[in-house]
Point group: none
Chain length 245, copies 2
DNA sequence: GCAACCTCTGAAGAACCTCTGAGCGACGGC
DNA sequence: GCCGTCGCTCAGAGGTTCTTCAGAGGTTGC
C-alpha cells in the first residue's frame, strides 16, 4: 500500500537540481530555525548574518530564492535586494520585516513578484510563501499544482479555500494554517510541540493548550457529521488521515 | 552461542561508515544505560558529563547524532546546541529535559529538525526518536523504510498504525511501545526484566507484573481469534514470531 | 468608535490509560 | 496425581490527558 510517505522532498527546479535558498538574517536563532525547516523541506540552504557576506555568498551559491531580513547590521535590505537582482537574473525574494515597518514601501517592492512576511511569523507562513513565490515564478517542480488533497478534503492554497465533500468550509487564519500543516503531513502523527513550532509564531511563549483548542475548532468544521479525519493519538499528538485505512 | 540474531545492526550512514552518537549527560547511571543501549543498536558511542568536555570531544569525534541533557553542570543546553550546530553542519540532536522544563519553551527545536524526550523516559522512546531523526535527516541506512513487519503483522511507526491481516488495531501508548520492542526482536526470547528495562521508564521502581498485564492486553488485540504470535516461554520470557516456525 | 471576528486563558468534566491487588488457572517436578 | 510456582486476567482506584465551554482582550474593517 502506501509506501512512499512524505517524500524526503524531491524539491528541485526545472533542471532537476535541488533548489537553493539563501537565508540572510542577523539573529542566529532565527536563522537556525529557518534553515532547519527549509532543509527539512528539501532545500539546499546557506545562510549569512549580514548583507556583505550574503552578497559574496550569493555570487557563488546562486540561490533560486532568498529569505531576507529587512533590517541588517550593515546594508539596508533594499540595497541588498538591488544587488541580488542585478547579479542573479531570476531569484525569488521573501522579506522579513517588523510589523510596523513601512508596509507601503515594501508593498511597492513586492510588486516585482516578491513577497514579504511580518515578524513575528510562523514557519508555516514562511514556507508557504516561499512555495508560492516559486510556483508563480515557474521554478518549482510541483507534483500537484497548488491543491492539497487528503481523502475528500481539498485545499487550494492560493485561493485559501477548503472544500470537503463538495462543501466549502470557512476557516480563520490560524485554523487554515493548522490544517495546511496537517494536510502536508497526512498519515503522520504530529506532536503538539511540532505543531506549535510550525503553526504558531516563534515568539509564542505561553504554555497553553491552544493546539488542542484549534484542533477542536477544526474538527467542528472539517469532521462535523462526517467520518472523522482528524484523530487524536493520546500522549503523542494528532494525525490527519483519509477514511479508508 | 549467539547466532546472528538481530544483526548487531548494520547501522551505518550513507557513506557506509558506522553512525556515531555522542551522549551528553551528567548522571553517570543514565549515561551508562543509554550508551549501552545505543551500542547494542550498532552505534559507535562516546559520552561526556559536561558541556565543555562534550564540545571538545565533538570536534574530533564528529558525531552524526547527539543525545543532550538540557541541564548540564557547566553550560546551558542551548549554548551547547548552538556550538554543535556551528561546528558540525549536519547533526541530529535529541534533547532530554525534565517534564516541566518543556513548558519554558524548547521552541523551534522540533522545527529545526531536532526532537526532545522528557524525563523520565523509556529507552525504547529514546532509540525510536533517534531513529526518526536520522530517517528524516536522510542519514540512516533504512532497509525497510519505517515499516516493521513480522508475519502478517505490520507496524507503521510514523503513523503509529498497527495492522494484522488487514485489520487496523488500536493500541495505547504503552502497548505500542511494547509491541514495537517485540517486533524489533522477532523470534528472540525477551525476558521480563529486559522488557521492563526497555519499555518502561528507568525510574519505574515498582516490581510488579505490568509486563504480564500488557502482554495480556496485546494478546487480546493482536492474537484475538488468530494464530497466536506472542508466545510465553515459561521461566524465561516472551517471544514474538510469525506463524510458521 | 462600533461591530464583528479572532485568539487565547481558565476551568470543569469526560475519556482514557496505567498500575495494583487478588483470585484463578496452567504447568512442571516429583 | 498433587503441590508449588509462575503466569494470566479481571476489576477498579487513581492519575493523566483531551475536549469543550465561556469569556476577556485584541484586531480589523467600516
Amino acid at each position: 500500500m502506501h509506501t512512499h510517505r512524505r517524500p524526503p522532498s524531491p524539491l528541485h527546479g526545472a533542471d532537476g537540481a535541488p533548489l537553493r535558498v539563501l537565508v540572510i538574517d542577523d539573529e542566529p536563532d532565527l536563522t537556525e530555525v529557518l534553515s532547519g525547516a527549509l532543509a527539512g523541506e528539501g532545500w539546499e540552504v546557506r545562510s549569512a548574518a549580514d548583507g556583505t557576506t550574503a552578497l559574496a555568498l550569493a555570487r557563488t551559491f546562486r540561490p533560486h530564492a532568498v529569505v531576507l531580513d529587512w533590517m541588517l547590521p550593515d546594508i539596508d535590505g533594499l540595497q541588498v535586494l538591488r544587488q541580488l537582482r542585478q547579479e542573479l537574473k531570476t531569484v525569488c525574494v521573501l522579506f522579513l520585516t517588523a510589523r510596523d515597518a513601512v508596509e507601503d514601501r515594501i508593498a511597492g517592492i513586492t510588486a516585482g513578484g516578491d513577497d514579504y512576511v511580518t515578524k513575528p511569523f510562523s514557519l508555516e507562513e514562511v514556507l508557504a510563501r516561499l512555495r508560492g513565490l516559486l510556483r508563480r515564478a515557474g521554478m518549482a517542480y510541483e507534483p500537484d499544482g497548488d491543491q492539497l488533497v487528503v481523502g475528500d478534503l481539498v485545499m487550494d492554497e492560493e485561493a485559501r479555500e477548503v472544500v470537503r465533500g463538495g462543501a466549502l468550509i470557512d476557516l480563520s487564519r490560524t485554523e487554515f494554517e493548522l490544517l495546511r500543516f496537517l494536510m502536508r503531513n497526512p498519515r503522520r502523527v504530529l506532536s503538539k510541540a511540532q505543531i506549535l513550532d510550525r503553526v504558531w509564531s516563534y515568539d509564542f511563549g505561553g504554555r497553553s493548550h491552544v493546539v488542542e483548542l484549534y484542533i477542536s475548532y477544526l474538527r467542528k468544521k472539517i469532521d462535523a457529521g462526517r467520518t472523522p479525519m482528524i484523530h487524536t493519538v493520546r500522549g503523542v499528538g494528532y494525525v490527519l488521515k483519509p477514511e479508508s485505512s
